[in-house]
Assembly symmetry: C2
């Protein structure tokens, strides 16, 4: 079959049309509602004693003239409030909650009062450097905070129909539009921390005002043009930097402003900025049907997923600059792999999927979601990883070897720079957006997450009910209930990890082959009736994954994956010194669901081999024959669940016998 | 036989009594004389255009009132002049050179004029912060510079009999003695960068003045006592640091001042400081026959060589602080492994050897000398490694992944902080000191370096002539010519790397077994006659070396060693992507001397295996069966010779099949 044609129209599926009932995900979404969002609210209001103060709500109150005081926190502190409001919006859109809505309304009142006469909105500049707006775009996050507030405004409007915050952010966007552009007298600047482009496209969708799309387009196109705007501003500031020890206006690659976006060949610099940029580029490409901009997105997508992505869907190989490094450089222990970067990769994948439904995008989305994003949060919803290593030796952390200073062997309570927890919250609260997509007469199922959805297919409502025990089991059942019987297609993703799938429609086998598979989706085109049901069986054996030979650190090593889940060894099951473990190429791998394990999970056991340090002939180096490896049972658990049983070693990759 | 008894007397062998004629070493020593020392002289005088200016000689001229200007360079810039003078002294002691001596005399005149009325000598403080002497001992290197100048003064006196610099440094030492101590009114401070203790013991030997020994002992004992002197000074300075970004008075482990030296269990902090400290401790222990201080030296020696030393004799596992990290943490690629640290380890090993002749010390000395120290200098004598990695991928350097920012894939011309090149120069110029030692009635041969030596055995002169093709060949011939026939012992080291040795005396086989081997030396006790000769044959097959199982980064890997030389793979011989190479456990290893290779060297070749990236099924990760490894010839060269054929990958450790 031919490749999918890009740029077809896709409606957003409203969250109140998707009801998630899923053994795996409902737990996390409930956690967001019952723990993360309330906890974050307390954090934003400085009510958590053990955590660093936030000051974020108070900054808005001071800027609104409701309190006296000084700005507190990072230059991007406002964005924490915006992300919280966005997460709240998704929760409200999914399920009414008058108390939560009333709290949000109060916050919005304060934000509205903090907005300046001309529409400008940023508590740092308003309170701390009132005369210096837009003077340090490279470093000072004004457009980043604006973007997050716009996303919140759009989300709250969609959830509640209330326009107050949407009007605030529209006025702000109008103000930004009056400041930036190529017209005489305007600043030819652009966002230092990327974010506003994708937000402006959302604002365009919510308001229908094309000016916001043009402004997003301007920010896409202006980035990296010569003479470089950041260098001009740096000179105007006399070389001054907002930060100590780094100067983001000097390292242009850090913010992907070293070249125009269409000329960028490789993902480089700060990983979150890169994927937020690409999300915005894809949004603009989709709206303007810009083939060459889409080609730039695809080129950078390919670079990331085929050369710079960890098997866990994590990105950002080095802590310095929280950044991409270079092709095939994927160290497991000194990695950065920020939770937010994988969330950004999910945003980007989701946009690419909407432009052209190809399973490759959903495969990466699933990989990042089920591994790095879930790993980012503890089972109690109160502890978070910012950095997600694939190999940890706690002995090496906390200054023992300073190259691991950024690695935390256990999840932390909250962060001074609190970007990841609210990002996890807003992603999980909006998970319903990622499961289905309707394009033309086709319902695409991208993710296998149980629940009910009401979808609009060519003006007619179709109810889809999905049931499964995914990701533990590959059997997924769909019930299709169209309001009226009708012809349309159901396209189910055959994940890249699955070698063999079976399908039946109303208990009749349905062939899964090249004839009906298009870009990784099996298409079931038929006249659907109330009560029709589809059963998909994805074979889910344990797979031995190996890395491209140019990935230096994984040479001779194997990782286990079952379904979408990447596995790891943990000290809790295998004792210390995990590097002593070897997995024979022919070892039988047994997968078994264990109720008591970390909320219920499939563990994998195998007869491995292990070097025994006690049998070493002595000395630090020896030419004596090394004692034979000993047989040893080894246990792997899903990566996302690591570090929930105290502090210990962890490793995804394990040596393999030849 | 019983263990050697410590604390026996050992005379220094003057350098004019040891004439090195050795195919391997003569080249390097000639290079020091003809290239390194003249080049360094030009560097000290700012006559090398391509290099960063030094200012070191000019600083002394300004302080001497001979020129106008301001201090230039690091706070320890004076030490470069001292190290140069020390190297010159060794060259002069080995072989007269009136022109070089006259240049040195001129420099000494300037230094003498730069000395202050009260004996103080330091151009940084004299010129730049005259009122703040001794106000920042943790960071500002006054005692370090003093130590190096004392070493120079002693060496120049020994070489020439001229007392001028010896008198200068004696007056300076007297001044230091008047400032520091536990007596009321004195500062209870000690050296931030360790060095002065070992220098003071040399000054004690040269002058016979016990006060210098007592001062060295004071510095040993006072270190790390509570309340901590650096913390007191830090408070007095209001928290001020001499450096940006680091504060050495806060990180007490950095300078090994976190605890009294006798209580330190593990080598920690800046590696050069640690081994210079231990050298001074061993010197003081030897002179005072202090068993418990010697026990502390042994404990830290054991920790270094059995848990924190690279197979190349390098130390310092991390760039942050150029420091030790923790037991068994020996990463090959992010290592620091400063050339100076291995030189310091040689100093320490040499002192331990003099206290108790045990081959273990000479083995480590040899390992550091033949691998890291020689690697530190290029074959042209003009390029130097400061950092000596055991695995390099040039693609990863120069900011591609910032954890490698300290790694240079090729030797550099000179350094702003120029500690390593002059340290190599002074070590190689004094190499004659390390070969033999006479203790009681025994001549110990520690190193197998060809040449003639005149040794004083119990008041009678014995000429020893050594001939070999070491390190390429294990056959070593000694001719023993006593002035008078007499009974004494010749003790030849059986290196730790040698599994089988044979010996003959005047062509008669001499058993090499437990009966005559004591602490790793085979003792030949007899009545020696003019013309007696000894032939020692050390079997020198290629050995497969493996690391202790707790060395995480070397799990499943092997390194080749032949004789004292550690080998490595280089891109020049094996192409890029060295990590693709696997050495089967049963691969035949062929060693062959190649005249044309890097000044003549034994290369090792083997039939290895290699993963072929071109045969990879595709994607960054794959569960497809990995294509079989291909046979591939692999070539190893001695580690010391790497990076002499342009820029490329290098690796000491290679994966091994099970």
């Amino acid at each position: 079959m031919s490749k999918s044609i890009p740029f077809q129209h896709v409606d957003r599926v409203p969250l109140d049309h998707v009801n998630i009932h899923d053994d795996f995900w409902s737990y996390y979404i409930d956690l967001v509602r019952s723990v993360v969002v309330p906890y974050q609210w307390d954090a934003l209001n400085d009510r958590i004693e053990a955590a660093e103060p936030s000051g974020a709500i108070r900054n808005f109150k001071i800027a609104a003239g409701l309190e006296e005081g000084e700005f507190y926190g990072m230059v991007f502190q406002d964005s924490d409030v915006a992300k919280w409001l966005e997460a709240v919006s998704y929760l409200l859109e999914s399920q009414p909650d008058p108390e939560l809505e009333s709290t949000a309304d109060e916050v919005i009142e304060i934000i509205a009062k903090a907005q300046q006469e001309d529409g400008y909105l940023n508590t740092y500049y308003t309170l701390k450097e009132p005369g210096r707006r837009w003077s340090n775009l490279a470093e000072c996050h004004e457009l980043y905070c604006a973007g997050h507030m716009i996303e919140a405004g759009v989300a709250y409007y969609r959830a509640t129909g209330k326009r107050k915050l949407l009007d605030v952010v529209s006025r702000f966007a109008d103000h930004i539009d009056s400041v930036f552009g190529t017209e005489p007298g305007k600043l030819r600047g652009y966002d230092g921390h990327q974010e506003i482009k994708l937000a402006l496209v959302k604002l365009y969708h919510a308001t229908g005002n094309e000016r916001y799309l043009r402004l997003a387009q301007y920010f896409v196109e202006q980035r990296g043009q010569k003479p470089n705007f950041y260098e001009i501003q740096l000179k105007e500031r006399g070389g001054e930097s907002h930060w100590t020890g780094i100067n983001h206006a000097i390292d242009l690659q850090y913010s992907q402003s070293h070249a125009p976006v269409r000329e960028q060949e490789k993902a480089i610099g700060h990983a979150v900025r890169e994927v937020y940029m690409l999300t915005g580029m894809a949004d603009v490409a989709a709206e303007t049907k810009d083939e060459s901009l889409l080609a730039a997105c695809r080129r950078l997508w390919d670079n990331i997923v085929s050369r710079q992505m960890y098997i866990t869907g994590a990105i950002g190989s080095m802590p310095q600059g929280e950044a991409f490094s270079f092709d095939y450089d994927l160290p497991n222990d000194t990695v950065y792999a920020e939770t937010c970067a994988s969330i950004g990769l999910i945003f980007f994948a989701h946009r690419m999927l909407r432009i052209a439904p190809q399973a490759e995008y959903a495969d990466v989305l699933e990989r990042a979601l089920y591994n790095t994003v879930v790993a980012g949060m503890s089972r109690d919803g109160k502890h978070f990883f910012y950095v997600n290593p694939l190999e940890v030796d706690p002995k090496a952390c906390r200054g023992a070897n300073h190259k691991f200073d950024h690695i935390k062997p256990v999840r932390q309570e909250w962060f001074g720079c609190a970007c990841c927890p609210p990002n996890v919250a807003r992603l999980l609260a909006s998970l319903g957006e990622y499961i289905y997509m309707v394009q033309g007469g086709t319902i695409y199922a991208h993710l296998y997450i149980g629940g009910e959805a009401k979808l609009n297919v060519g003006g007619s409502e179709v109810q889809v009910k999905q049931t499964s025990n995914y990701p533990w089991d590959g059997r997924i059942r769909f019930e299709i209930n169209p309001q009226e019987p009708g012809k349309f297609a159901l396209a189910l993703r055959i994940p890249g990890w699955c070698r063999h799938a079976r399908l039946s429609v109303n208990n009749e086998p349905y062939p899964v082959d090249g004839q009906v598979i298009q870009d990784g989706y099996v298409h079931i085109s038929r006249n659907w009736q109330q009560g029709d049901f589809v059963e998909l069986v994805l074979d889910m054996p344990v797979e031995r994954m190996r890395s491209h030979p140019l990935v230096r650190g994984n040479a001779g090593k194997v990782a286990l994956q079952r379904g979408p889940l990447v596995y790891c060894l943990e000290q809790a099951d295998n004792g210390a010194n995990l590097h002593e473990i070897v997995l024979p190429a022919n070892a039988k791998l047994e997968a078994k669901f264990e109720n008591g394990l970390l909320g219920g999970a499939v563990a994998i056991t195998a007869q491995g081999l292990r070097q025994d340090a006690a049998k070493w002939p002595g000395g630090l180096y020896s030419s004596e024959a090394v004692p034979a490896l000993q047989e040893a049972k080894v246990t792997f658990i899903p990566y996302y669940a690591w570090a929930n049983r105290g502090e210990g070693e962890m490793s995804v990759w394990v040596r393999e016998t030849f």
